[in-house]
Every structure is written in structure tokens, then in C-alpha cells.
Amino acid sequence: MLQIMLMMVCGIIIGRTLRHRKLRWLSPLTTVLIWILLFLLGLEVGGDQTILHSISRLGKDALLLAAGGAVGSAVAANRLWHYAGKSKGGQE
């Protein structure tokens, strides 16, 4: 976790230093890294019989967690909207 945090902090500092430059290469690089990592995750899933056999159960758990998170955050957002006094459009 410490290494990950350090990578993030280093990135933020470098990003801050370069904030007057347009980093056109950053977005394509991030996308390609995500593709590689998702491909590797797929490789691991495809090579693991236990995961493949339980994919329908895993899918059901995923849907339940997505629904739980969505409803929970929607209710919390609703409370905040009332607390903020329904100020029109969120602007003062």
C-alpha cells in the first residue's frame, strides 16, 4: 500500500510541476496500461477452473453489491439535497 501511495504522490507532484504543459501522451498511455492489466486479469480468470465454475455466483454477488452501493449512495445524495436547502441548481 505504501508503494502505491508513493507512486500516486510522485505522480501528483510531477503533474503539478508540469501543469502548464498539455500532456497529450498521458491519456493514451493510461488507456493502454488499463487494457494490458484487464487482459492479464482475463488471463488469470480464464486459466482458473474454480473461478470459471463459479462465474454465475460471482456475477450475482457483483450485481447485488452494485445495487447496494447505488441505492445507498442515492439515498445519501437525497439527504444532502434536502440539507442543502434545495438551493436551485446548486448555485448561490
Binding site: 500500500m1 508503494q3 502505491i4 501511495m5 500516486m8 505522480g11 501528483i12 503533474g15 508540469l18 501543469r19 500532456l23 498521458l26 498511455l29 493510461t30 488507456t31 496500461l33 488499463i34 487494457w35 494490458i36 492489466l37 484487464l38 487482459f39 492479464l40 486479469l41 482475463g42 488471463l43 488469470e44 480468470v45 480464464g46 486459466g47 482458473d48 473461478i51 470459471l52 463459479s54 462465474i55 460471482l58 456475477g59 454477488d61 457483483a62 450485481l63 453489491l65 452494485a66 445495487a67 447496494g68 452501493g69 447505488a70 445507498g72 449512495s73 442515492a74 445519501a76 445524495a77 437525497n78 444532502l80 439535497w81 440539507y83 436547502g85 438551493s87 441548481g89 446548486g90 448561490e92
Partner: protein, 200 residues
């Protein structure tokens, strides 16, 4: 949407290659994914540090609405806690780690795979894709039932990019800045929260 489909296609391609043993197994056993993950988080850091416009455009927003990222966090954790208690198939901290992906499925599933294995990583991938899809498809209903902040909150980390057009249409254009700020905060918190819940 196109970007999301390409990402899912890479996951499916990987699964097929893994199933048919088309790729040498050293690729998954070595440190390849960890190095790629470090490079990715470094890039995410650069993009966060490089973007100074978000904070400047927030000056005219109702300060109470700036609590929205906190509400999203508390609401999501409460929802995942409830699901964890109802189903009890996964550990509570695993459910919270999946929930703290906030729709950022690429990063959260990669982290969870790294720390807790590919099975949970797959649940994280599917759960967070589903969260993005719920935002894209159910925003009109969310606004009607829970008010205009709900699509932003449900969108989580995606409220600054993929779900922003939908949010702008159904929640109103004047909430776009708040939506970007919210996505920015959630984006930033994903790596920390996911690794935190994976490690406790």
C-alpha cells in the same frame, strides 16, 4: 461507452487466451501486472496533479453541496455493508473494497486482483461496470426518486467522464462542475480506500 466496451473486450480476450492456454503462464505468475499497476497509478497521479481547473471553478457552488463525495462514500459503504450482512458469501472488508471502486472498474478490479486474487477481482470488475451502467440507464429515474444529486453520487468516480453527459442532461447543466469535482475526489480516493479495505 465505446471505451468501456473495448476494456471489457480486452478482459474477455484475456479470458479466452487463458482458457485455451494461448499465452505463456509466466505472464500471470511474474510481477508484470504489479509493475503495470505502479505505472498506471503513477499516470493517474500525474493527471490529478496536472488538472488545476477543478478547484478554481468551484468557488460559486453552494458549499454544502461539496459534501457530496463524503455522502457517496458513506452511502456506498452502508449499501455494501447491508449486502454483505444479507448474503454473507464474502468477507465484510472484501465487500467494502469492491464498493470503494465507485464505478472505477479498471483500477479497482486490478487492485483487488493484486491483493485478494482473481475471483474477487472479477466480482469487482462486474460490480463496478454494473454501477456505471445503472447510472447510464437509470439517471432519469434516480432524479425523480432521489433528486438531482443522485446520478452524480451513483456515478461515483465516473461522474467526471463517462457518465458526465447523462448527468448534465438529467441533473442539469449547473451541476456539471459539482459532478466533475465529485468524480475527481472519488477518483483520487479509489486506490487508497481499496488497498485499505484489502489489507485490514
Amino acid at each position: 461507452m465505446k471505451g468501456s466496451l473495448i476494456i471489457i473486450a480486452f478482459f474477455i480476450l484475456g479470458t479466452v487466451c487463458g482458457l485455451l492456454h494461448l499465452v505463456p503462464s509466466q505472464l500471470t505468475q511474474g510481477n508484470t501486472s504489479y509493475f503495470a499497476l505502479c505505472a498506471l497509478i503513477f499516470c493517474v497521479g500525474i493527471s490529478i496533479g496536472n488538472d488545476s481547473s477543478v478547484l478554481q471553478t468551484l468557488r460559486h457552488t453552494n458549499p454544502r453541496l461539496l459534501l457530496l463525495p463524503l455522502c457517496t462514500f458513506v452511502g456506498t459503504m452502508a449499501g455494501c455493508l447491508a449486502v454483505s450482512l444479507l448474503t454473507s458469501t464474502h468477507r465484510l472488508t472484501d465487500c467494502l473494497a469492491i464498493g470503494s471502486g465507485f464505478g472505477y472498474y479498471s483500477l479497482s478490479s486490478i487492485f483487488i486482483t493484486q491483493y485478494r486474487g482473481a475471483a474477487l477481482g472479477t466480482v469487482a470488475l462486474l460490480a463496478n461496470i454494473a454501477r456505471e451502467l445503472i447510472t447510464l440507464l437509470a439517471s432519469p429515474l434516480l432524479v425523480r426518486w432521489f433528486g438531482p444529486l443522485a446520478p452524480i453520487s451513483v456515478g461515483g468516480a465516473t461522474s467526471m467522464d463517462t457518465t458526465l453527459p447523462i448527468i448534465s442532461r438529467y441533473s442539469g447543466k449547473d451541476l456539471v462542475t459539482l459532478s466533475v469535482f465529485h468524480g475527481f475526489c472519488m477518483d483520487f480516493s479509489v486506490p487508497f480506500l481499496v488497498t485499505f479495505f484489502c489489507e485490514i
